[in-house]
């Protein structure tokens, strides 16, 4: 699942559960997940680097930080 598809699903589910206020948090999490997936140190079955392998994983935006 791409980050974009995951985010759409997560927001939809949160709204269904009566938690629309989760949306901005999930969007911030999506940026962090995107950064994680495109980090150069990821392994990929093709042997390519992760940053080349899954351009659909990238969500543009400012830094990925969302601390606890």
């Amino acid at each position: 699942m791409t980050v974009k598809a995951w985010l759409e699903m997560a927001i939809h589910d949160a709204e269904r559960r009566g938690l629309p206020e989760l949306k901005p948090l999930l969007e911030a999490l999506a940026k962090a997940t995107s950064a994680l997936r495109t980090a150069e140190w990821n392994a990929d079955a093709t042997g390519e680097s992760a940053s080349d392998a899954d351009p659909g994983s990238r969500i543009p935006g400012p830094g990925p930080e969302y601390g606890r």
Binding site: A14, L25, A32, P64, E65, R68
Partner: protein, 470 residues
């Protein structure tokens, strides 16, 4: 007339020499709690009668020549994540209001065995999921020097209690910085040992692969005393026989490395200046300071987030379904966020953790420790969500974790200690990180750094040593 003891070491000597009694000291702490807790909200539970009884027993044993060691008769508090038999472990949440512990946490049992007097349980950010202590079912803990400010968190009540003289030390937990952040905010020493060294059973978890426990106290030596007590090690314990010979760093000049990239790139201007002054003090003392890099430090926040939220969500999922209204709103939302993280992304974060661990190992090669700030900002105002740094608004939560969470991800031991103050007299904290598995070595280095910071200075300098801020 001798000055009142400020540290565990000083108090232990006074108790053993019968210059004071545990009952008198505990009474003084309980009186301080009664006076100041309505303002600071540091304690959730106070064990007044039990503490007096423990102190009475300690005095009787010491008088009979049975001095157990440096914690005997010393008043200590516990973050309210630690089980104490017969007491509610609230975790600062209504979710836990009916939980009564049927046994002491292992760490609590070890403190009791050492003769420590448990005076009470301290406030925290609900379930330790936050850095400011604002979100607590019992209301926010407040900073002793300025009650409009946060004492840091999540162990905020612990730091406020120690800094304000309500106890001599507190045992906290640290998942992303929750011991070191409040220690730095309040001008104290806070130790996060190597991952897995100290027992966490009987402690409410946040993220089991990131959770650590450790002391918040007024000197590195006190941190060493508590660390060794909780480890069942006697190396630092024999205070009465002339202090901590093992605690001293050897005479070789310190070699410290500063990871400037990422860790020092977003600092409050006064914190940055205070840290550079501390570096200069170390150089004057003969230390060698070099720059070093953790190449993928920019990935740490994302790695940390995916681990901590996934693991916290696993622990809280059932309660989130059954009694969501019993969480504070923002803690509930952050926990709910963790429930959406995919397994593949948690696995990526675990791979990233190994990379960060190796890079920190590499950064430590050839030096005694890493040297960096413990907290990028001074204690923030309560209720303020962002701070302005370098022309940009930074979320308080993110910026408070920036210097500490890496070493929860990697498991390396780290200690925060005071290194200066702002123009408003708010403490500035430095942090030293040691080789994995060598917390004792880290404490030796920290003792040497503390000595360099507390050496006589020119009158214009603002540093006040730990325990001397009141």
């Amino acid at each position: 007339m001798a000055a009142e003891p400020q540290t565990i070491r000083e108090l232990s000597r006074a108790l053993k020499a019968r210059q004071t009694t545990a009952e008198a000291v505990v009474d003084g702490c309980l009186q301080r709690i009664a006076e100041r807790n309505p303002t600071l909200n540091a304690f959730i539970t106070v064990f007044g009668d039990d503490a007096r009884e423990q102190a009475h027993d300690a005095d009787r044993e010491i008088a009979a020549g049975r001095h157990r060691g440096p914690l005997h008769g010393v008043p200590i508090s516990l973050k309210d994540l630690f089980d104490v038999r017969g007491a509610v472990t609230t975790a600062a949440s209504r979710v836990r209001q009916s939980h009564v512990a049927d046994r002491d946490a292992t760490a609590v049992a070890m403190l009791r065995q050492a003769g420590a007097v448990i005076v009470g349980k301290t406030n925290l950010h609900e379930f330790a999921l936050g850095t400011t202590n604002e979100e607590s079912a019992f209301g926010p803990a407040r900073h002793p020097l300025d009650p409009s400010r946060s004492p840091g968190g999540s162990s905020g009540g612990s730091a406020a209690a120690v800094a304000d003289g309500m106890c001599f030390a507190s045992i906290g937990s640290d998942t992303g910085g929750s011991i070191r952040i409040p220690a730095a905010a309040c001008g104290l020493v806070g130790l996060k040992p190597t991952y897995g060294e100290l027992p966490t059973d009987g402690v409410v978890p946040l993220s089991p692969t990131l959770d650590h426990i450790g002391p918040i106290c007024r000197s590195v030596e006190d941190a060493a005393i508590i660390y060794d007590t909780l480890r069942g090690d006697r190396r630092f314990l024999d205070v009465a026989r002339g202090g901590h010979a093992d605690a001293a760093h050897d005479s070789r000049p310190l070699r410290l490395a500063i990871p400037r990239h990422y860790f020092l790139s977003t600092l409050d201007a006064q914190v940055a200046a205070g840290f550079e002054t501390a570096c200069e003090r170390l150089r004057e003392s003969g230390a060698t300071l070099t720059d070093v890099s953790v190449p993928h430090a920019g990935d740490i926040a994302a790695i940390y987030l995916h681990i901590v939220l996934s693991e916290a969500a696993a622990y809280h999922a059932t309660s989130l379904e059954r009694r969501p209204e019993d969480y504070t709103p923002n803690v509930r939302l952050r926990l709910e966020m963790g429930r959406y993280i995919l397994g593949e992304d948690y696995a990526r974060a675990l791979r990233g953790r190994e990379l960060i661990r190796r890079e920190i190992d590499a950064a430590l090669e050839g030096v005694d420790g890493l040297f960096l700030p413990a907290l990028a900002i001074p204690a923030p105002k309560i209720g303020v969500p962002t701070v302005r740094i370098g022309g940009a608004d930074e979320p308080v939560r993110n910026i408070m974790l920036r210097c500490t969470q890496a070493f929860n991800v990697s498991g390396h031991p780290a200690v925060a200690l005071p290194c200066g103050a702002t123009t408003e007299a708010l403490p500035i904290g430095a942090q030293i990180v040691g080789p994995y598995g060598d917390t004792t070595g880290l404490l030796r280095v920290a003792a040497a750094v503390e000595a360099a910071f507390t050496a006589p200075v020119a009158a214009s300098e603002t540093y006040r040593g730990p325990g001397r801020s009141r």
